[in-house]
Symmetry: C2
Subunit: 296 residues, 2 copies
């Protein structure tokens, strides 16, 4: 199996499971359920969910054991995008090739849709013991890790910095801090959380944190590169947005060539940390390479 | 002790505990922590927290055992107000006598502040076993109950309906549905959650659900009445807002006198349900009377 086939297979499986886990449009109030499904289904690489499942396997667990947790991560990711796209934030009209939530349902509803997806993610966390056979102590470790990673010390903190520095010149250190929090924290908890479910030992968790840091940085650098050289149709969103919004980017601060070299070094570092894991690391290894070479 | 003295004592205690539980302004990113504290501290009746603690006592538990859970409820309530006040929602400039979050920190930040308070509430839920000696099974029951009560079948669902019916004529049934979800669901989980911590039996939980339904309705009716006849300074917010926004209210649909009679009947019903509880119900009894007679 190639990594592309693997990604398609897993994304399809996660999509189907999300279909089931989200409230249906036949349930009242249907308007918000429809809008939640609009923003959470039908697209996305499902990287966070796949990382969680791959990490579970990489420490000797079974991928499917991390599925319930993986769905919660995708809901959190989706909520953050809905709020991030709002006019008061990044003011984006398109996401994954579709109109953003506030363009379709209005701003007030988009605020509520984000709130609802975050709340649904936490309900999903609450269901892990009963529906996904996660032990209570592990489920609580996961809940604490997820809330920390998505809170002000993690993802929200990154968005706050992003907002504060919008339109300003930022140095390399600030840029890295923003990304480490804004996207890196959720990647990291996907990996460590999936590994906890798989019964990881402490040195395995430490190795996955190193993997996560390098993977996250490589992901962000290539994200910035794609905004410069990518194809809008393949990406499903407008390119050149960073420059238009005067956002600090890796190509902007380091140049395109050095950015590509940085991404390559990060990918190598992340791959190296996999040797400390006791399970099947094929997917994590291939995912690191994929992130460097992706076109979307 | 009078109920007024009780309320002041408990609100002070809850305020101090919230001070400790929220991230400090010395922690980075300080801007969002300052804004979270601005909206979550320094005001409010702390009714949800007090209901949780009083319900714990009313089934034979100790009030302080429900404190950690009570703080999470106040964070959820605070987040919902921050988002509800946004220009895309109710567009309110004042809350509890202070400028609303988006008036002070801007709209983008207010979206993030609400997200952060909700996430902090869930982190608080995750800390209940370790910091507040709640058993893991009870903590999970609480988490599931809280996420359901604050999600699309509860609080958020009520806000969605509120948004959908804004500016429209609504009938009595729709009005009651909106309020039952928008404010009633969180009152109910405060009471049943506090009672779970106190070791409530099933018939006690059922009695508290009846108490909650009547208490919530009485609360909303008096809220609407205060918007008509209340004093803006005492309330800490502008009166007449409902009429200005063409919102359906109990006085609008039933008239002032019948609304007052309805509130009184609800209070009587809620007090009656207390006889099924095994603990000290003084506070819950007095709280029901207080809600009817409050001036803020």
């Amino acid at each position: 199996m190639t990594i592309e086939e693997y990604l398609v297979e897993k994304a399809t499986m996660i999509e189907n499971a999300l279909e089931q886990a989200l409230p249906g449009v036949s349930e009242e109030p249907s308007a918000v359920h429809e809008a939640m499904r609009y923003s959470c289904l039908g697209g996305g690489k499902r990287l966070r969910a796949i990382l969680a499942m791959a990490a579970c396997r990489a420490v000797g667990g079974q991928e499917k054991d991390a599925l319930g947790f993986a769905l919660a991560l995708e809901m959190i990711h989706a909520y953050s995008l809905v709020h991030d796209d709002l006019p008061a934030m990044d003011d984006d009209d398109y996401r994954r090739g579709k109109l953003t939530s506030h363009k379709v349902y209005g701003e007030g509803m988009a605020v509520l849709v984000g709130d609802a997806l975050l709340t649904q993610a936490m309900e999903q966390m609450a269901k892990l013991p009963e529906l996904y056979a996660i032990t209570l102590p592990t489920a609580f470790r996961l809940l604490l890790a997820v809330t920390k990673a998505s809170g002000t010390k993690g993802m929200i903190g990154g968005q706050v910095l992003d907002l504060q520095y919008a339109g300003q010149d930022v140095d390399k250190q600030v840029l890295e801090t923003i990304h480490r929090k804004k996207t890196g924290a959720l990647f990291q908890v996907a990996l460590t959380g999936g590994a906890m479910i798989g019964g990881a030992k402490n040195d395995e968790l430490a190795a996955l944190i190193r993997y996560a840091e390098n993977f996250g940085l490589a992901f962000q650098i290539t994200d910035d590169i794609l905004d410069v050289i990518g194809d809008a149709e393949t990406l499903g969103k407008a390119t050149g947005a960073d420059q238009k919004q005067h956002k600090a980017t890796y190509p902007g601060l380091y140049g395109l060539e050095e950015s590509q070299a940085m991404a390559a070094r990060c990918v190598e570092e992340s791959r190296k940390s996999l040797k400390y894991l006791s399970g099947d690391t094929w997917a994590l290894d291939q995912l690191a390479l994929f992130v460097q070479n992706r076109d979307r």
